[in-house]
Amino acid sequence: MHDSTKRCTCCVLSENFPKIEFDEKGVCNFCREELYHSTEKSYIDEATRAISEMFEKERGKAEYDAIVCYSGGKDSTLTLKLAVEKYKLKVLSFTLENGFTSPEANKNIERVVAALGIDHITFRPSKKFMRELYKVSSIYEIYNKKTLTRISANCNSCISIVNNTALKYAIEKNIPFILSGFTLGQIPLNAIYYKTNYAFLKESRQSTMDKLTDLLGDDVHKYMGISDRVIEQVKTYPVNINILCLESHTEKEIVDEILPLGWVPPKDVDGCSSNCRLNAFNNYVHETKYGYSPYELELSHLIRKNLLSREEALHKLLDQPMDQIRYAMKDLHIDESQLPRFKVQ
């Protein structure tokens, strides 16, 4: 395993990560100052208490207590298991089939929902739209730079559709909670649970939606927009909750928890994904455009929490199969020359 990138000697943040500075020992300012990853126990304790109270109050009132965004990956599989077995919620499992899900991940979804005995729905957007969305997300600057410190543009496009679709289902079925499998490091500490003013959220996403509409047409609103009708119609919006943030599992512990459900690690994905065959390409695009991996922040957080060794994190970052990158470029009709190149400032 050879890594020629200059990185922090404690975590895996690299020299091109925004605002990074190294001291004489090669330790980055994020490790020194705990920027981004302050996991104050009081925050977690308060979230644990608040989430338990919310579940207690709403459990059993609607057809489903929660809709769980389920990708088939290991984190969302554990989220689903915890929702059903630990929190005793009646859940509706929901998968967005983006056209690049590993066949083994699809089998995992089948096996896990069967083992948990829960209802499941899959939404499969037009393959043509998804290809075009991924293509423009790869080539153009669509999203806020801060957003892209945590996630690749293509993953963000996909997750926007997941969130939007889950919200529509939740509103339609009066489901009080939307559960996702994000962990700390992927989201800010104070986003463990939150409610949003969707009218303001819609305004805040206007510039992104305008860019996407210019490039892709009005279908963008169908898949990623929040309609005025929905906003006017709804009195109370669901609460978004990331219950995995309350847990402290190593990757091995997560896998050990979900293996009894019939979950099998897919072999046709990169080191940072356990369900998506587009992820290697997404990371490649991000590194080409910005000079660092979209997983550096998350993996560095896990290292600081002693949930992952630095060596394991490096192994994940460097496990980017070229065959998957080439496959995605061919499928999306993207030429290498179309990708903007990162320039050292």
Binding site: K19, N144, P188, N190, Y194, T196, N197, F200, S204, S207
Partner: protein, 87 residues
Amino acid sequence: MKTEVLTKESIQESFLEFLCQQFLVEREDIELEKSLVDTGIIDSMGLIEISAYLQREYDIKITEEKMNRNNFGSVIKIVDFVIREKL
């Protein structure tokens, strides 16, 4: 939670410090009277982060109804909102 006497100036100073640290921007990038979203400083998740920061720092309750452009439309509006909530 802040316990010292709050003034517009002190709230603004603390808030700008928070923005610079959390959103990887320099002070000179922040236009006080313009929307933080429109100027690309924050995204929709940033609104959640700011809301949680204000609730924690100033012990105020921010319901989703209060997260609107009148209250969160700029640094100045956010500071004024905190002052109103603390009255």
